[in-house]
């Protein structure tokens, strides 16, 4: 910690002051999106890659975001390694970036990743020179394999995408933390500020979220809350929490109490 600021997050060859990664979708409107992202302090903003509308152009999200933020394209909506790889390659061409948040979904109901396709796509993209940041389950074995392949960060879910259920298995995240040397970013499931703080207290390097801010009653307020939660959680992690005990331990001196 320097001058009250938390340490930087470094992914591949880039360093960031903020440890929050934020989505650009499902806000009430573009202005609230922009104001919320600014309030969150996030520097990395995710976008999807979609077919252009051949029916005529509305203002695009990228026009609002490019230049001000580090744009991280995702492969959301892809169900096969092949589609995810092509989407990443299209993103590289469209955005002139070799960074990708890799998502290969296995099932529309759970939006859980398809581990087999995810590993294949990660391998292909690392081979093709991408900075690969895979969204994955909180499975220590899968996370280890993704790291071994050469992914630049690992992004296990706290709970299913958009569920707001928070971190349902903190013990797994602790195991994953212990075995992961690349940045570990909790992606998906964050519902409120304490979820983000917990992720950071567990030792994760960052938090990726979207709906928790975009769908809050006051997105800008929640964006602020997330920024503070992540900074607070990071500082708590670095500062070291006290051990949990089953008995009370008074903090005021026991001697010199009046009437004794």
């Amino acid at each position: 910690m320097v001058n009250g600021r938390i340490d930087q997050l470094t992914i591949a060859d880039k360093s960031f002051d903020s440890r929050l990664l934020i989505g650009s979708a499902t806000y009430p409107n573009s202005q609230i999106m922009l104001d919320s992202i600014r309030a969150s302090g996030a520097e990395i903003v995710t976008v999807a890659i979609r077919r252009v509308s051949l029916e005529g152009g509305a203002e695009t999200v990228i026009d609002l975001l490019s230049g001000e933020f580090h744009i991280l394209p995702n492969t959301a909506g892809c169900y096969t390694a092949r589609d995810a790889v092509l989407t990443a390659q299209l993103a590289r061409e469209a955005l002139a970036t070799n960074w990708v948040k890799l998502e290969v979904i296995g099932d529309r109901e759970t939006l859980y990743p398809d581990a087999e396709h995810l590993l294949q796509a990660a391998e292909d993209l690392v081979e093709d020179g991408f900075i690969v940041m895979p969204y994955c389950t909180d499975d220590p074995i899968l996370c280890r394999k993704l790291q071994d392949i050469g992914c630049a960060a690992i992004m296990p879910l706290g709970s299913p995408i958009g569920s707001g259920m928070g971190i349902v298995n903190p013990y797994n995240l602790e195991i994953i933390r212990a075995q992961t040397s690349v940045p570990l970013i909790v992606d998906a499931g964050i519902g409120t500020a304490s979820d983000a703080a917990l992720a950071m207290e567990l030792g994760c390097d960052g938090v990726m979220l979207a709906s928790a801010v975009a769908k809050a009653r006051d997105p800008i307020g929640m964006a602020n809350a997330m920024r503070h939660a992540i900074e607070g959680g990071r500082l708590a992690h670095l500062s070291g929490r006290i051990p949990r005990k089953r008995h009370a331990e008074a903090s005021s001196p026991q001697r010199g109490v009046i009437g004794t």
Partner: protein
């Protein structure tokens, strides 16, 4: 003589031979930033949009960034 290609999932009858020409015909400014095109699963770099020939049956994807999480 025209032929059929697929553009963003829709079959189209066309006589256009280049990507630049196709984008123009579809109302997409080929000079616009943040566009990418793939033919039959391979990305075609912007520098080749005027040169690569579109063939009958080609499956073409034209994409751009959109809001995402």
């Amino acid at each position: 003589m025209s032929w059929t290609i697929s553009v963003n999932g829709k079959d189209k009858s066309t006589t256009i031979k280049t990507i630049a020409g196709l984008l123009d015909a579809e109302g997409v400014d080929p000079a616009a930033q943040f566009l990418a095109v793939a033919i039959n699963g391979d990305v075609v770099p912007r520098s080749e949009w005027g040169a690569v020939k579109i063939c009958p049956g080609d499956v073409i994807e034209i994409v751009t960034p959109a809001p995402g999480g």
